[in-house]
Symmetry: C2
C-alpha cells in the first residue's frame, strides 16, 4: 500500500522543481560543478522509517552541516562547560564567514560560524590531529549509520583556497582558544567539510537527533540526551547564518545548512528532515531546501511552538474499587462491605513518558482524592519512562499521603529498572520505602484488606448450608449430600487441581485455609484468577460434566476440604432431582452475578 506521506513528498518534490532562483556556490571550482537541478527530500520518522523523493542517494559534500556533528563530538570529549569556555552560543547577527570573536576573551560567538567551528574541531578527543580526525569520522559515521568518504578534490580545493579560515585559525591561536598548532586543526576542518553524504544521510542524521541521540536504525546511542539538547539549542539560534531568527520564526525547527546545498532539520521526538539542492540564496542557504522545509512546516504544522501537547494524557484511566473488585473471593459480609466502601480505593493508570508536568498533574489529582479515598494504586504498566523530577513528585506525594494515614502503592513496576531506579533514587533518607505489586489485582486485594482490617471474617466454615452453592437446600437434602462428602487435607504448596488434567468429577468445599486458582497463559506465564478462603467452592463446573480442568488450584496455606464426587451426587439426584435443580440454580446465579461484574468492569475499561 502507498503511504500518504510518500505521495505528499513526491508531489512536494515535483511542485518545487520549477524553483530555479539562486545560484550554485562558486567559491571553489569543485562546488561549481554541481548539477543545479539536483533535488532530493527525505523525511525520516524517529523510529527510522524513511520517506524519500528525488535525488536522495546522490553524494555531495556536507560542508557546514558538519559543524553541529563535530560540536557533538567536542561535547562528548570535553563536556559542556569546557566547550563553553572556548566557544560561545550567542547568535552573531553576522554572515557565516565573519570572524565574530568576543572582544574580551577572543572566543568565537558560536560554533556555527567558521571561527567557532574551527575552534570546535580543535576540541575533539585525541592527543594528535590524526587521532582527532579518527574521532571526527567516527562521530559522523555513527550519525549516518554507515561508512563515509572524503571528496578529495573538494578537500584539496578548500585547503588551497581557505585563506580566510587560515587567518581565523591563527587568530584563535593568538587568543589561546586553540592551544595547538592551528594548521593540522584547519586541515581536519577542511576535511570534515569535504565529507560526502547523501540527502538520505542528512535525514537519518537528523532523525538521530530527533530520537534523543539514538540512531533509529542501528540502535546505537551516538550522543547523550543532554548534549542533544545543547546541539539543538545552538542550531536553533545560530544554525542558518544570519537567517536563523527568520528560520525559527517561520519554520520553527532547529536546522543547519551547508553551501553544497544541504539542509538538515530536526523536529524533536518526531522527524528528521534532509534536503539537497545546490542553488543558494544570498545568505548561503539552499533555495529549494528552504522552500521545501517551509512547505513541510506549514502543511503539517511542524513548527515546534505549534500544536504543543498538554500533560493531561499521562493519566490514562481512573477507576475505583467499587468499579472492580479483586479476584479474591470474599465472604458475603466482606463483599457487602467492599460494595459500600470500595470507592475509597482508587486506581490511576498512567502512561507514556512521565516528566514533571505529568507527575504534577497526577499528584494534584491525588491530593484532590485525599478526602474521599483511603488508598491509591498507580498502575505503571503503560509508563515507558519516568524522569527524576517526576519520580520525586510521585514519591513525595506518597510520603505526604502516608503522613495522613493513606496508602499509595505502585503496580507493575517489578523488574523494570527504567521505572524502579528513578523511584528508588527519589526516596528521601527518612522515607521508609514503598510497596509495589506484580499486578493490579494483587494491589487491589491489598487495598481491600486494608479496608477490611477491622472486620473479623470466619477462619473456618463447616456448615454445609453456609456454602452459597448449597444455599436454599432443605435440611433432609443437606443430610443426603453430607453423607457423600469426603474430607481431604492439603499442605501448603500442594496442587489440588492441575490444569489440563482429565479428572474425575469432583467439587471442592473449602473448610479452612486459602487456595489460589491459577490460569496458564499462552505466553508460558501464569495468572492468578482468584484466591479462595473458607466457605468457598471450586471445581463446581463438574456439575455440568466439564471434566477437563482449565485452571490449576494451589494451596496457599494448609487447607481442609470437603470433596463431593459429582457422579455420586448425580446418582443421588436421580431420586432427588430437586437437589440438582437447586445446585444448578445456585450455580447459574453465581455465574450471572460474575458476568454482571465483568460487564461493569468492561464498561469502565472501555471508556
Amino acid at each position: 500500500m502507498r503511504l500518504p506521506l510518500q505521495d505528499y513528498l513526491d508531489s512536494l518534490h515535483a511542485s518545487l522543481l520549477c524553483l530555479r532562483e539562486g545560484s550554485v556556490a562558486t567559491y571553489i571550482p569543485e562546488l561549481a560543478k554541481a548539477d543545479p537541478e539536483s533535488f532530493g527530500i527525505c523525511l525520516v520518522t524517529s523510529d527510522g522509517y524513511v520517506y524519500a523523493a528525488g535525488d536522495v542517494n546522490l553524494p555531495f559534500t556536507i560542508q557546514s552541516i558538519s559543524k553541529p556533528l563535530v560540536y557533538a563530538a567536542a561535547l562528548n570529549a570535553q563536556g559542556r562547560d569546557a566547550v563553553l569556555e572556548r566557544v560561545g552560543v550567542e547568535p552573531s547577527g553576522d554572515a557565516f564567514n565573519s570572524i565574530s570573536l568576543n572582544p574580551l576573551t577572543g572566543a568565537p560567538l558560536n560554533p556555527m560560524i567558521n571561527a567557532g567551528a574551527i575552534a570546535t574541531t580543535g576540541l575533539v578527543e585525541g592527543r594528535t590531529a590524526e587521532e582527532q580526525w579518527k574521532n571526527i569520522v567516527a562521530v559522523m559515521e555513527a550519525f549516518a549509520g554507515r561508512p563515509l568518504a572524503i571528496d578529495e578534490a573538494v578537500y584539496r580545493s578548500e585547503s588551497e583556497t581557505g585563506f580566510r579560515n587560515r587567518a581565523i585559525g591563527w587568530m584563535l591561536r593568538n587568543f589561546g582558544i586553540l592551544e595547538q598548532d592551528p594548521t593540522p586543526v584547519l586541515e581536519n576542518y577542511f576535511r570534515q567539510c569535504s565529507m560526502q553524504v547523501t540527502c538520505r544521510d542528512l535525514g537519518i542524521m537528523a532523525a538521530t537527533l530527533a530520537n534523543n541521540g539514538v540512531h533509529p536504525l542501528t540502535g546505537k546511542s551516538v550522543l547523550p540526551a543532554e548534549h542533544v539538547a545543547s546541539v539543538l539549542s545552538v542550531m536553533s539560534t545560530c544554525g542558518m547564518y544570519d537567517y536563523a531568527g527568520s528560520w525559527l520564526y517561520e519554520i520553527g525547527m532547529p536546522a543547519k545548512s551547508g553551501v553544497a546545498g544541504g539542509i538538515l532539520a530536526v523536529l524533536p521526538g518526531r522527524f528528521g528532515i534532509g534536503v539537497f539542492s545546490p542553488r543558494l540564496d544570498d545568505k548561503g542557504n539552499s533555495v529549494r531546501g528552504i522552500a521545501a522545509c517551509r512547505r513541510l512546516s506549514d502543511d503539517f504544522g511542524l513548527h515546534m511552538f505549534r500544536n504543543v501537547r498538554t500533560p493531561v494524557l499521562v493519566l490514562r484511566r481512573e477507576y475505583s474499587g467499587a468499579d472492580a473488585t479483586s479476584r479474591r473471593m470474599r465472604s458475603p459480609e466482606a463483599v457487602a462491605l467492599l460494595r459500600e466502601r470500595g470507592g475509597r480505593i482508587r486506581l490511576l493508570g498512567l502512561q507514556g513518558e512521565i516528566a514533571l508536568a505529568g507527575a504534577e498533574y497526577v499528584g494534584r489529582r491525588i491530593a484532590r482524592l485525599c478526602e474521599e479515598a483511603d488508598s491509591v494504586i498507580l498502575d505503571m504498566h503503560r509508563v515507558s519512562r519516568i524522569d527524576a523530577s517526576a519520580a520525586q513528585v510521585l514519591q513525595e506525594t506518597r510520603r505526604q499521603l502516608g503522613l495522613r494515614g493513606l496508602a499509595m502503592v505502585y503496580s507493575r513496576i517489578r523488574a523494570r529498572p527504567e521505572l524502579e531506579r528513578p523511584l528508588k533514587r527519589a526516596l528521601r533518607p527518612d522515607d521508609t520505602g514503598y510497596l509495589s505489586f506484580e499486578d493490579n489485582d494483587l494491589a487491589l486485594e491489598w487495598c481491600e484488606n486494608r479496608l477490611l482490617a477491622g472486620v473479623t471474617l470466619a477462619a473456618r466454615v463447616d456448615e454445609l448450608g453456609r456454602f452459597p452453592l448449597f444455599a436454599r437446600l432443605a435440611a433432609p437434602d443437606l443430610d443426603r449430600v453430607r453423607k457423600l462428602l469426603v474430607k481431604e487435607h492439603y499442605h501448603r504448596g500442594d496442587s489440588i487441581i492441575v490444569s489440563g488434567q482429565q479428572t474425575d468429577y469432583r467439587i471442592f468445599l473449602l473448610l479452612s485455609g486459602e487456595v489460589s486458582v491459577i490460569l496458564p497463559l499462552s505466553d508460558g506465564t501464569h495468572q492468578r484468577v482468584a484466591t479462595l478462603s473458607a466457605g468457598m467452592t471450586f471445581g463446581e463446573m463438574a456439575l455440568l460434566g466439564h471434566t477437563r480442568r482449565t485452571a490449576t488450584v494451589h494451596a496457599d496455606t494448609d487447607a481442609e476440604c470437603w470433596v463431593l464426587e459429582a457422579r455420586a451426587f448425580d446418582t443421588l439426584a436421580v431420586d432427588f432431582p430437586r437437589l440438582k435443580i437447586v445446585l444448578l440454580e445456585n450455580l447459574s446465579e453465581n455465574l450471572a452475578w460474575r458476568l454482571h461484574q465483568a460487564n461493569q468492569l468492561i464498561g469502565t475499561l472501555a471508556s
Copy 2:
C-alpha cells in the same frame, strides 16, 4: 495536603535569597527605589494552578516584558506579513538599547530591542494614539486576566529621560517604518513599560502563552495559536538581549526579561514561569531570576529539547474481532465463522492530540495490517483534537484501503465537530466519504457483517431443538414443552420487555425478526447490550425466578416469538425434573461461555 512542587518552590526561594550579586537599575530614579531584596517565584500550570513563593503580589513595572505582549497585539491587528515588513526577527547580537536597524530598509532587526518595540507599538490597532493605547491595555489585561494600572511616577521619569528612545522614534519615522508622528507612539511605549504587574501576573501571562494563547483561568482566547508560535519564536532567539543564545542553550525556554527585575518564561504546553528580583547583571537580566529559572530547568528537566515525547502513544490500544465480538448474538454457524476469521477485524483505539507524526505512525501500522486484515475500526473516543495534516493522512489511508477492498471506519466521532470538521475537510473531491458509528460495538457488528456477507444465515427458526436453551432435550420432552408455547407477534418499534417492570415469568424464543436488548445507564442515556435474531432466546433468567426486568427489549423489525410461561414450565418440571435440569445446564453453559468471553475482553482491555 501540601503539594510537592510547593515545597520545592519554597526551598528554591529560600536557597537563592543569599544571592546578592548585581544591582538595581538606576537609569531612572524611580527604578532605583526598588527594594533589592524583593524576590518572588511563580510556577503556573497550563490548566491554571498557581504555585507561588515569596513576594509574588508586590507590584513593579513590567518594562521590556511588555514587548512580546504588544508584539502579540500588533500581530492581532496587522497579521504576520505586515508586521514582518516593518520589524525583523533576527537576533542582533547587540545590547537592548542598540539601534540595530537593517541598513537597507531601516527596519529594526527584531521586536525585543527598543527600536523594534517602538515600531511594534505603532502597529497596534487604532486610528489614533489614544485608541492604540486602549488596545495595548486591553491585550495586557487579557494576558493578566485582571485590570492593570500605570505607575505614573515611572512613566513620567521614562518620558522625561528617554532621549535615546526619542532618537530611535525619529529614526524610524525617517525610514518610514513609523508613518505617523512618533511622539504619541513614544508616549504609549513609555506607558506600556510603566504598567504595574506582579510576579503572579507574569506567571499567569506566561501560562496563557503555554496554553496556546488561552488564559487558563478566564478561559478567554487572548491570541490565536499561530501568533503564539510567532511570539514564542521571537522570544526564543531575541528575548534575553545579548544573553538570548546562552539562555536558550542553558535554560531552554522562550523568555523575556525587564529592567525592573521581572522575567517571564514559557514551557509550551506545560508551565508558565514568573520571577521577580530587582538586582540585574551586566546584560540587564535579573540575577536571581536567571538563577531560579536555571534551577527549575535543571532540577525538572524543563529544557524544551530534553525529554521530547515520541508519537507512538497516539495508539492507545489495539485488538481484533477475535478478542471481542460485537454484542449481536449470532447463530452457531456465524459464531464459529467469526471465531475463525474475527482476527481480520482490527480495532485501533487512538488518543490525545493527533498531529502529523501520530497519524503517520497509525497509518503505517494500518498499512502493515493490510495483508492480514479485512476491516479496521479507528476508535476516536479518547482523541481530543486532530489537526488538518493528520486528518489528511487518516483519510488518505482509508481511501487507499478502500481501493484494495478493505474497509476503514471511524467510531465515536459523532457530534464532535472538533473531529468531524477536519475529517470532512480532508476528503478529496473524488472520495465517496467515510462511515462512522456511534460506538465500537456497532462498528464491530458492521465489520462482522462484512465478514459474514457470503454466509447465508437462517432468517427463520421454528424448530424448538435448534434453540440452544433446549439443546439435548429428548423428543418426548420437546413435545411436552411445545404444548406450553404461545406464539406472539410484535411490530417494529414495539417494546417487548420494559426495564424496571415487575412482570410475569416469561421466556421468549425468537422465531423471526430482530430485537435489541437496551440497558438504561445511570446518566440517563441508553446502551445497546445485544441484538438478537432468529433462533435466539431472551428473558431466560426467569428460569431462576428473576422477575424484575433489568433491560428493555425492543423490536428492531417485525418479530415473531414463542413465549414460554415459566410458571407453567415449573409445573411441568415437577413431573419431569429432567426437563428443568437440562434447561438449567444449558443456561449455565451459556453464562459460563459469556463469562469466559468477558474475561478475555477484560484481559485485552486491561493491558
